[in-house]
Amino acid sequence: MSAAHDEGHGHGPAAAELPPGVKLAPGDPEQTWVEKLYLPEVARGLNNTFKHIFRKKFTIDYDQTDRDNPAKFHRPREGYRGEHYLKKDEDGHVKCVACFMCAAACPAECIHIEAEATPTDWNNRERYPRRFEIDMLRCIYCGMCEEACPVDAIALSTTYNLVADTREAKVYDRDKLMKTGEDLGISLSKHKYRPDGVPGAVPHKKAH
């Protein structure tokens, strides 16, 4: 297509107006009749896919029948967002302070908490969740609850096998969530209730 032709129709910048060194991007190149037949390209494509049939497969067989065989028992990388668990403090109590931040952050509204004053023998804070339930069927595994938690009490494990036989079994209560962490051996929270200068749940010496 010539520059003059372009000018005549008044659309597209004419070649003369282009700054030096700048070329118009090529449009669709004219196809030869062999190319228009498609068949040679189809043959090339078939050749390509045929070669792939014999390549090494990318699939990881996460067949969970054999826990000891790393090729069979797939462990996701760090940061995979699987089933939730609740962490514990040094005394073995649930770390959660029932602040509802996770419930507020949750886009699926699947976290249900009821707060209560702690029993008198817990001496590092005043409030804990009497009830803490996650409806795993609603959960979208976005990890916002973990982000929102000010005391590092909830986290997502790498457990990805998420099936159950009933809907009820997929509503995890506090004890079930704590047990998940215990089973995985990652239950203890590294967070201290009194981190200097870090906003968070600062405890009080209890009045009672």
Binding site: V97, A98, C99, F100, M101, A104, A115, E116, A117, R125, E126, R127, P150, V151, G197, P199, G200, A201, V202, H204, K205, K206, A207
Partner: protein, 592 residues
């Protein structure tokens, strides 16, 4: 709070100063020419914008600025209390009209009108009827507020996640708007242990910003003065005198007015998070005073009741009796469905059964049906009840159940009524003044066994029916009871219908001053979606009434046509604050 600032404030405002041109000369031309305000108004120029306001309408500059929408932040100032001015958050710049500059130091020669050396607190600044120029959001003002904010947060523990006030906390809001993200404070914060101030109020001492709203409230409104500030400087804290706990009928209000989460009511502690609460304007049903409240509900659960402003009734406050009296709404004893012969029935089916029985009994004569309503029902429900008996069943045999009174109490600026029937005046209006004594006659008739079917619409919490009533009900063949919770009344009943609490209704109460106030539905009726009005209408329809099912709003609109006292009124005209019965209604004309 610095003593220095206080002393500056207390300096005489404008000692007579010689005009610069010498005595006798023409007064100097002011640098800022304010437009002249209409009569009775003053010109207030805020951030370059002129407003004509009535200086008598506002108590101080802060009120005026916030009413004009400038959102001046504050902690210690509360419209229901005397201004104190200790938090220093409400800084604004006042500019000298004469010189056109913010006043940086007292120069009596050039600034004779007023002299404020630096940003001043607007809550203690009265309006100057000659006109004022104010900077509410200029950089120096914002800078000053930022400093104040930083000081307020120095000893604050920032434990918002576990604090019940989070979400409705003035410290959070103002810190968000005026504070900075990081603290420059590297030293250790003061840590003070929480204290029990009384049977229900707990003090998180280290959250306190010493605004003294609570002490001022107890001094001015309650008149009991349990709380005061001990110690000085950053060690100052709120405390009680030994042996004199914070225990009075208004103590819950200090939790409401506390700008931070320092004072917490242990009865309500940890039961809610502020951002989940849906607030609905309503009226407190605990006594005939009719305090204006907001029902704070989370889904179908009422979490707490808070007062709202109505200067004609309760100002900003409510008493402890009313505040804590909401647990019956979601109690286990609530009747949630109909029962016929001790068998669970859908509400509608049970109501229709009740209506059929009433109609059949009414065939045998007006004395074979009897009814009781209560003064806990709204005007609309009472009207529907009256229609059911007088028009459909053609019987005048009905009476009023009354809640026994309690001890009245008077505070310097608050009053609790002895009468516990919130709509007694309404019952008198709808059912006639003689209704109060009618119950005895009906009970008499029942005791003689003349009544076949009795329909008792109680819907009262804590109602203890008298022995005579219960005995008389024994003699009645079929008792239909509509009540909130299971109790002695419903035990006598053949048909039980669910009632609705005040939080589930749309309707009007008339308080002891004759003020009509609107309740609005805060939670869906728990009785399978039927409130008292719906159940009454269903009963009436099954008994033969041609009336359609109507909302409370619509029933009131129709009542306004038949009751001369309600002429021209509807829920919308009554508005948030209500109207006094029989008062001239200037608003009614332009209200709708």
């Amino acid at each position: 709070m610095s003593d220095e600032k206080k002393s500056e404030e207390k300096k005489p405002a404008a000692p007579p100063a010689p005009p610069p041109g010498g005595p006798g000369g023409p007064p100097p031309e002011p640098a800022i020419k304010l437009p002249k305000a209409p009569d009775g108004l003053m010109t207030l120029r805020v951030d370059g914008k002129d407003h004509f306001i009535d200086p008598k309408k506002y108590r101080n500059l802060l009120d005026a600025l916030n009413d004009l929408g400038y959102g001046v932040p504050h902690f210690c100032y509360h419209p229901g209390l005397e201004p104190d001015g200790n938090c220093r958050m409400c800084y604004v710049n006042v500019i000298d009209v004469r010189s056109g500059k913010p006043i940086v130091g007292p120069n009596l020669a050039t600034q004779p009108w007023s002299m404020y050396p630096k940003p001043i607190i607007s809550c203690r600044t009265s309006l100057d009827p000659r006109g004022m120029v104010v900077e509410a959001n200029s950089p120096p003002v914002l800078e000053a507020r930022k400093w104040v904010m930083e000081f307020q947060l120095i000893n604050h523990p920032l434990d918002c996640p576990v604090c019940d006030k989070a979400g409705e906390c003035m410290l959070q809001d103002n810190s968000f708007k005026h504070g900075q993200a990081d603290s420059r404070f590297h030293e250790h914060k003061n840590e003070k242990a929480p204290k029990e101030l009384g049977p229900t109020i707990k003090l998180w001492t280290d959250r306190c910003i010493t605004c003294t709203r609570c002490t001022r409230f107890l001094d001015e409104v309650a008149g009991t003065s349990e709380l005061y500030v001990i110690n000085r400087g950053d060690r100052s804290e709120i405390d009680i005198a030994p042996g004199h706990p914070l225990d009075n009928e208004l103590m819950g209000n200090v939790v409401d007015i506390c700008p931070v989460g320092c004072l917490i009511d242990k009865d309500l502690m940890y039961t809610y998070r502020a951002w989940y609460l849906q607030k609905t304007d309503s009226v407190c049903p605990a006594c005939s005073r009719g305090c204006n409240i907001q029902v704070n509900a989370q889904k179908e659960y009422v979490r707490r009741l808070t007062p709202r402003e109505n200067r004609d009734v309760n100002n900003f406050w409510m008493c402890e009796r009313g505040r804590k009296d909401f647990r019956y709404i979601n109690a286990d004893e609530r009747i949630l469905q109909g029962r016929v012969n001790n068998e669970a029935y859908p509400v509608i089916a049970a109501a229709e059964e009740a209506g059929r029985l009433l109609a059949a009994a009414a065939q045998q004569g007006p004395h074979s049906v009897a009814g009781f309503c209560s003064a806990w029902l709204t005007l609309e429900e009472l009207h529907t009840f009256k229609q059911l008996f007088e028009e459909t069943l053609r019987s005048k045999q009905y009476g009023l159940l009354e809640q026994a009174g309690w001890e009245a109490k008077e505070f310097p600026k608050f009053k609790i009524d002895a009468d516990r029937n919130p709509n007694r005046a309404g019952a008198k209006l709808v059912l006639g003044a003689g209704i109060e004594g009618a119950a005895a006659g009906v009970i008499e008739q029942m005791a003689q066994g003349r009544v076949k079917v009795a329909y008792v619409v109680a819907s009262m919490p804590h109602f203890e029916p008298s022995g005579e009533l219960l005995q008389a009900l024994e003699k009645v063949e079929t008792v239909i009871v509509q009540d909130l919770s299971r109790g002695p009344l419903s035990a006598k009943a053949k048909i039980v219908l669910p009632g609705a609490s005040f939080a589930e209704k749309d309707g009007v109460f008339i308080n002891s001053d004759g003020r009509m106030q609107v309740l609005r539905r805060a939670v869906d009726p728990l009785g399978q979606g039927n409130d008292d009005l719906a159940v009454l209408q269903r009963v009436a329809r099954a008994a033969g009434s041609e009336q359609k099912m109507l909302s409370g709003r619509e029933v009131f609109r129709r009542m306004a046509e038949s009751y001369p006292e309600l002429k021209g009124l509807n829920h919308k005209v009554l508005g948030r604050k209500g109207q006094v019965l029989g008062a001239p209604q200037p608003e009614a004309a332009d209200g709708d």
